[in-house]
């Protein structure tokens, strides 16, 4: 079965090929079966392969793609975890999308792109070298672009798709340069197996930093995070699959995969931790004031990705993967729940116009409540364990990062509770007839809810499972310190939830007052810390327009002058050429034609077109032949 792992990405690819070429003609029921079916097949195949491999690393090399670079797949503990997340959660989201997209146009296109995305994502995580990983990396970017712009008739969707693509390009430039660095270190080979045994040096540090730049683009970290909230223009299942559970975590996966490099570059690792921490708190602060339910979740995703990078930055790679996994469960659940709410309110996304939906949508409410408590860090739920591990390891190595993380945990609990309270509790602020979603949507919610609880309990086994491939820090054995950090974390979560309850349930007039009281901060958060305006001023207006004006004047003065001069010379030359053409070349051509015509004229006369004249020619020729015989 391990030898068949190349089938795992291939099955969704075939699904995508069928859907995108023949999908228009296929009945809806066939698409509904085919699209989730391919992912289920990939999931079952992955499950079989992982169970058979038993945690050993195995490579399947299909063929040599480029010199020293194979088209090969690597099944090791890390990619095992990733393919199970991608196919497992991907399958649930496909099933959910069957219900969610039921009334939308372009059904086949949506599922074709989704299958295509899964193919690229599986290529990314199964790749045994950086080049193939990069191919998948670009492929998921493409699928993301297509799906963000799925409602292409909406200008905002098209703009968001372009924005996502461009910001990813910036990161990808770093990734490519980083790959060059790696190639120079390993003598042209980019395979992961050749990363071990490197020694620290400036090239390693540079490669590590550049690869991390790539990760900040794909995983929406400071300063390139601004595309992810806009990416919410896509359909909600897309947000759940691509912009919460899988694609945006590719950066974390890549850093974990490159841990052999990052261990040799402690400065870069520290920078990663700091970047993660800053991203976490900045995004969390913006999430506090968002009113669009999907944008709250988008900023929450950015913030949680920051947590993962904090963990990766302090060297606790398995913790980053652990949080990646738990986050995949509860954040995709939150997105799907939000989609369920939006679906039942006919497209309403503003949480200020929701409220009181708990009665109408009990399943959505309870499952989302579990996910919110999980992400907030309430004990015994998945998010608690993974976040606690992150805080613990940051506490051990970088106290400042720990402090930021703790504040962010508090903010996380606050904004998630705010979202839940405004959406499901309180009085109704929307008169649309809300209804619970159909089973095809709620069953995936329930399964993910179970995952959001139990996925946190396997921290210990996961650490041992990942130990062969990831550098694992030595944690102090005694539990006192751990319980202290746990205490902090629980207090932060509890305080956040209770404060949100006080603000939004007990004293609903308080939030407006608080907005005024914290005036400057509110303004900062409302404007997303002015990142978009900064890019606008720097690149769109600065480089784009002023640079454009500068280029324009250069164009007029120098380039145009040269072009005009060249044009004059060309004109003169062309006049000469025309004269030559008219009198010499054309003359010769006409002469040839004339001679041929004149020669042909008498012969043409013989061609009368009457059969009898041809018969006469035949008989005349026969007579002539006989005459010749007689003469001789």
């Amino acid at each position: 079965m391990v030898n068949l792992i190349w089938l795992i990405p291939l099955i969704p690819l075939m699904g995508a090929a069928v859907l995108l070429t023949l999908g228009r003609m296929m009945p809806k029921a066939a698409i509904q079966l085919l699209a989730p079916g391919t992912i289920l097949a990939a999931f079952l195949l992955s499950l079989g392969a992982v169970m058979e491999s038993g945690g050993k690393s195995q490579e399947v090399i299909l063929y040599e793609w480029l010199p020293k670079v194979d088209w090969g797949f690597l099944l090791d503990p890390l990619s095992s975890v990733m393919i199970l997340i991608v196919t497992g959660i991907g399958f649930l989201i496909h099933v959910y999308a069957v219900g969610y997209m039921n009334h939308e146009g372009g059904y086949y296109r949506f599922f074709g792109y989704m299958n295509l995305f899964v193919f690229f994502m599986l290529t990314l995580v199964l790749a045994n070298n950086y080049v193939l990983l990069f191919a998948g990396w670009e492929g998921v970017g493409l699928a993301s672009y297509l799906l963000i712009g799925f409602y292409f008739s909406k200008k905002s969707a098209g703009d968001a798709a372009k924005k996502a693509f461009l910001f990813n390009r910036v990161g990808d430039a770093g990734f490519i340069l980083g790959m060059f660095g790696v190639a120079s270190l390993t003598h042209g080979s980019l395979a992961f197996r050749d990363l071990h045994g490197l020694t620290a040096g400036p090239v390693v540090t540079a490669a590590a930093a550049l690869l991390f730049l790539g990760a900040t683009g794909k995983s929406a970290q400071l300063p390139l995070f601004v595309w992810l909230p806009d990416a919410m223009e896509g359909p909600t299942p897309v947000s759940a699959l691509i912009h919460a559970a899988t694609m945006v975590t590719a950066g974390v996966y890549m850093v974990a995969r490159s841990n052999a490099i990052y261990i040799l570059a402690p400065e870069v690792s520290f920078a990663i931790a700091v970047t993660g921490a800053l991203t976490a708190i900045v995004a969390a602060s913006i999430a506090l004031v968002q009113t669009d339910i999907k944008r709250v979740l988008a900023y929450s995703t950015v913030s949680q990705l920051g947590f993962m990078f904090m963990a990766a930055g302090v060297g606790a790679y398995w913790v980053a993967v652990f949080h990646l996994m738990t986050h995949a469960f509860f954040k995709s659940l939150l997105f799907l729940g939000a989609g369920s709410v939006i679906h039942s309110l006919n497209g309403e996304q503003d949480i200020r116009r929701m409220g009181g939906l708990r009665k109408e949508m009990p399943i959505t409410f309870w499952t989302m409540a579990i996910a919110s408590l999980s992400i907030a860090g309430v004990p015994l739920l998945a998010g608690f364990f993974s976040k606690d591990e992150i805080l613990f390891f940051t506490f051990l190595s970088a106290k400042s990062v720990f402090a930021v993380g703790l504040v962010t945990a508090f903010l996380t609990a606050f904004y998630m509770s705010r979202m839940m309270f405004l959406t499901f509790l309180g009085e109704k602020r929307n008169h649309a007839h809300a209804h619970e979603s159909p089973l095809v949507m709620t069953v995936p919610l329930m399964i993910l809810a179970v995952g959001s609880v139990v996925s946190g309990w396997i921290g210990g086994p996961l650490e041992r499972w990942l130990e062969p491939v990831l550098h694992t820090p030595h944690a102090p054995e005694e539990g006192g310190l751990k319980y202290l950090v746990m205490g902090f974390s629980v207090v932060a979560a509890g305080a956040g939830i209770l404060l949100a309850r006080y603000f939004y349930i007990s004293r609903p007039e308080l939030p407006a007052q608080a907005r005024i009281a914290f005036g400057p901060f509110t303004k900062l958060a409302d404007n997303k810390w002015y990142f978009d305006d900064l890019y606008d001023a720097l690149f769109v207006h600065g480089l784009g327009m002023k640079g454009g004006a500068l280029l324009g004047s250069f164009d007029r003065q120098f380039v145009d002058g040269g072009i005009n001069g060249a044009g004059l010379i060309t004109r003169f030359a062309s006049h000469l050429s025309i004269w030559f053409d008219t009198w010499i070349v054309d003359g010769l051509v006409r002469l040839t034609g004339l001679v041929t015509k004149a020669a042909g004229y008498p012969v043409r006369m013989a061609q009368t077109g009457y059969v009898q004249s041809y018969a006469m020619w035949i008989i005349a020729a026969a007579a002539a032949a006989l005459g010749l015989f007689w003469v001789r």
Partner: protein
């Protein structure tokens, strides 16, 4: 004048006069009847030369088959109007010259001593009947050409049906 000589001239006259009628008459039906006369004369010539089988073939196939086909087509395309038109084309004078030149060439060639055959050749009669002998040669030495000709006929039948048949669209 022996019987042979008389019949030779009689049949030759029939053939040549019939041929002239075919070429000169105005009405196509008359032309066909004149052609039939000419073919009858030729058939007589076959008989004189001891080719009884060909004589029968000439009568049955030519006069009975092909001529009926001609008459059929004449009915089908309704040549009444055509018989009122000018019958000879513009190139008639030149054509006559060419034809005469050709025949002159033939006669001049025949009249050369080397080609002109001696009048008397010892004619030993063939054993057996004429039909039996022809059949023997046709189905032994010339079997392959015989089969090829049958294919030619098949192709001709299919082709003429294709061309003459109505377009069903």
């Amino acid at each position: 004048m022996s019987g042979d000589t008389f019949f030779f001239y009689a049949f030759s006259a029939l053939a040549l006069l019939g041929g002239l009628g075919t070429v000169l008459l105005r009405n196509a039906v008359h032309c066909a009847l004149a052609l039939m006369t000419s073919l009858l004369g030729v058939a007589g010539l076959y008989l004189l030369q001891g080719a009884e089988f060909l004589f029968a073939v000439q009568i049955v196939l030519y006069i009975g088959g092909i001529m009926v086909l001609f008459l059929f087509v004449i009915m089908l395309v309704n040549l009444d109007q055509a018989s009122k038109l000018q019958q000879f084309g513009r190139q008639t004078p030149i054509a006559l010259v060419v034809a005469l030149a050709a025949v002159a060439a033939i006669f001049s060639m025949l009249s050369k001593s080397a080609v002109l055959l001696p009048a008397s050749v010892s004619l030993t009669p063939l054993t057996g009947g004429n039909t039996e002998t022809v059949a023997n040669v046709l189905f032994t030495d010339y079997l392959l050409p015989f089969e090829l000709v049958s294919i030619l006929l098949l192709v001709a039948v299919v082709g003429s049906v294709m061309m003459a048949g109505k377009r069903t669209e």
